[in-house]
């Protein structure tokens, strides 16, 4: 819906000029109730996992302490959601699992965005045969079975990561618990990002390519601006829209990949646990205690919903041509 250009009466400088892309987008976004709901849920979950959970654990709730006498118990003052199969506090387990799932997905997404933007930006801007060739490579790689490659990649990387972790712990004296916890995430994150960047690269490339053909770029070139300047100050800011949209939509699919891999046992390793692993364990206990499955499953699905709705909403808001209005 393009706002028709109004003739401005003289003197009304601060009257409604054409508002910026972002302001327009925000207005549209606000109207989309599902997307706003999604946004709120996303923020709540992020806060719960990354702010509230650490506070809770500082207070004394511990997701790792076992109480074998107290398995599968119901909600109580000590365990707000009850306990799991080893008597651990379910709430903390799920929140800690969320930390991992979200962390992996967000880190992988950031990596994906970085690589994708660089690769796609260059491909789109340079264009021509080089750009095409770069895209052919991407297309080719995209045809590979993603999950299988991720699994292989991850196995291979984890061997190397183990060595580096050992080195950091033994030779540099870093705290072993933290290093290991973190180190465990690296293979999976890199493996997922290592192939996830392909789609991002495609999107960025088409965006960059269409931008590169715009007149303002020609104008900038004729003014003698360097390629770098054009890329960073003119093209990149204009690509932010699609990048943000796609990043928001990438996060849930990465959460899903990680969960699928953890489900079949080729994802996160202990001491970490993620929603995927929790769901896999919980599925075994369907008959004994359904809470152990239900809590992570619901939270997991809710997060996916939220991110997807938000992303959809952003896409509708930021890119009116693609909208269905």
């Amino acid at each position: 819906m393009s706002s028709s250009v109004k003739a401005l009466p003289a003197g009304l400088k601060d009257a409604e000029k054409g508002s910026s892309l972002w302001a327009d987008a925000y207005v549209r976004l606000k109207k989309n109730k599902l997307a706003m709901l999604g946004g709120i849920i996303v923020i709540s979950i992020l806060i719960t996992c990354f702010v509230i959970a650490p506070i809770l654990s500082w207070i004394g709730f511990d997701g790792n302490e076992q109480d074998l006498a107290n398995k599968f118990s119901g909600p109580s003052t000590k365990n707000l959601l009850g306990t799991d199969q080893l008597g651990r506090d379910l709430l903390m387990r799920v929140l800690q699992g969320g930390q991992i799932s979200l962390l992996v997905a967000i880190m992988a997404t950031m990596l994906t965005v970085t690589i994708g933007v660089i690769y796609g930006g260059i491909a789109g801007y340079v264009g021509g045969r080089i750009g095409n060739a770069m895209m052919r490579i991407v297309d080719g790689l995209l045809a590979m079975p993603f999950l299988i490659i991720v699994i292989l990649f991850r196995e291979v990387i984890s061997g190397q990561v183990d060595e580096i972790a050992r080195f950091l712990i033994d030779d540099w004296g870093w705290n072993d618990n933290d290093v290991l916890r973190f180190a465990n995430l690296i293979p999976l994150t890199f493996a997922i990002a290592g192939f996830g960047w392909l789609s991002m690269g495609r999107i960025v490339r088409s965006s960059a390519a269409s931008l590169a053909q715009q007149e303002f770029v020609e104008a900038a070139r004729s003014l003698g601006l360097s390629h770098r300047r054009i890329l960073f100050r003119h093209i990149l800011p204009n690509m932010l829209g699609p990048i943000i949209i796609y990043a928001t939509l990438t996060i849930p699919s990465f959460i899903l990949y990680e969960a699928t891999l953890s489900y079949i046992g080729l994802g996160i390793e202990p001491p970490n646990s993620s929603w995927g692993k929790l769901i896999q364990e919980g599925a075994n206990y369907l008959e004994t205690n359904i809470t152990v499955l239900a809590v992570p499953a619901v939270l997991f699905s809710l997060t996916l919903f939220a991110f997807n709705f938000l992303g959809d909403g952003l896409r509708d808001a930021l890119d009116p041509k693609a909208s269905k209005d």
């Binding site: 599902l34 297309d139 080719g140 045809a143 590979m144 079975p145 993603f146 999950l147 299988i148 490659i149 699994i151 292989l152 990649f153 196995e155 291979v156 984890s158 061997g159 183990d162 849930p252 899903l256 969960a259 699928t260 489900y263 079949i264 046992g265 080729l266 995927g276 769901i279 896999q280 599925a283 369907l286 499955l293 499953a297 997991f300 699905s301 996916l304 919903f305 997807n308 709705f309 269905k324």
Partner: protein, 306 residues
């Protein structure tokens, strides 16, 4: 037309080649070794096994031998972990099962997703639209490994003729296919809705309406074909996604399909099995994409020139 087919085939071959090469080297870099077992493997035993399977030869010779066997004799080698079984046998036994499951899912997904998308488009922005899209989103977000156990509990247990897991009778395909179809159905619904909305806003639809053509005729005769283009474009990758994503469903419902071999192959470091599967999948997806392209052309003649 011919050009498209040839270029697709060429692309597939290149991809398969790269894929197999990558896998060949990647799998050898995994920690552990393919021959560990409960009873200890002495140095001699391990060396003996390696000799038997040709792993003592230099890497490039192994690589060359592999291609030689595959291309000249169609021999994908013997599986390391399943003694006495050829990889080609394992694939030929399990693929029909995965295929059956996949096709069933796909048909279900189309029967579910496309009508849903059409309804959503027709009642755009009304409650039917919202509901349909939430249902579609649910399909994406309530994943197979959550849905599967729920189905097992809700349907298989109470209904004695529906098995909880396994593949011993025809009805065993139902629950897994339903579990698997939701994700794809969801995407199909969204794509169909988008495509339909696009088409419905076109001028020629408006003129048809003005001419008094009935709603039903507009949908079926004029709008449907072009509207389905995005959905059909997706079918190729969708089919591939179903076949690869099915390993979760196969492990939940204990279906002896191809998906399980991937996980097993990697867990057991069964080099030949994983390579064979990767090769097969690569070709399969190339064909799926080709079919998808051809279907597109059939549906929208405008694309014939591109």
């Amino acid at each position: 037309m011919l050009r498209i087919i040839l270029s697709r085939l060429l692309q597939t071959l290149v991809v398969v080649f790269l894929l197999v090469t990558f896998t060949f080297f990647a799998i050898r870099m995994m920690p552990g070794n393919p021959f560990a077992d409960v009873k200890a493997l002495t140095e001699e035993n391990k060396a003996a096994m390696e000799r038997l399977y040709g792993l003592d030869k230099p890497l490039h010779i192994q690589y060359a031998n592999y291609w030689k066997n595959v291309l000249l004799e169609g021999d994908f080698g013997d599986s390391f972990s399943m003694k006495g079984r050829k990889v080609s046998t394992l694939i030929s036994e399990s693929f029909p099962i995965s295929l059956k499951l996949g096709l069933f899912s796909l048909i279900l997904a189309m029967s579910l997703g496309i009508p849903l998308g059409i309804i959503a488009a027709l009642f755009h922005n009304k409650w039917q639209d919202y509901t349909a899209m939430i249902i579609a989103m649910a399909g994406i977000c309530i994943v197979t490994f959550v849905l599967g156990p729920i189905f097992q509990l809700s349907f298989a247990k109470p209904l004695s003729w529906l098995n909880v897991a396994g593949w011993s009778r025809p009805s065993d395909v139902i629950l897994p296919a339903i579990t698997l179809c939701f994700g794809v159905a969801a995407y199909l619904a969204r794509l169909t809705r988008g495509g339909m909305l696009d088409v419905l806003s076109q001028d020629y639809i408006r003129s048809a309406k003005a001419k008094g053509v009935s709603q039903l005729n507009i949908i079926t005769k004029h709008a449907l074909r072009p509207a389905l283009v995005p959905a059909v474009t997706f079918l190729g990758p969708a089919f591939a996604a179903i076949i690869t994503g099915s390993f979760v469903v196969e492990s939940i419902f204990l279906i002896p399909g191809m998906g399980q071999y991937f996980v097993l192959g990697i867990q057991n470091q069964d080099y030949t099995l994983v390579l064979g599967l990767v090769l097969f999948y690569g070709i399969l997806m190339g064909i799926a994409n080709l079919m998808s392209d051809l279907a597109l052309i059939f549906m929208d003649p405008k694309l014939r020139n591109s």
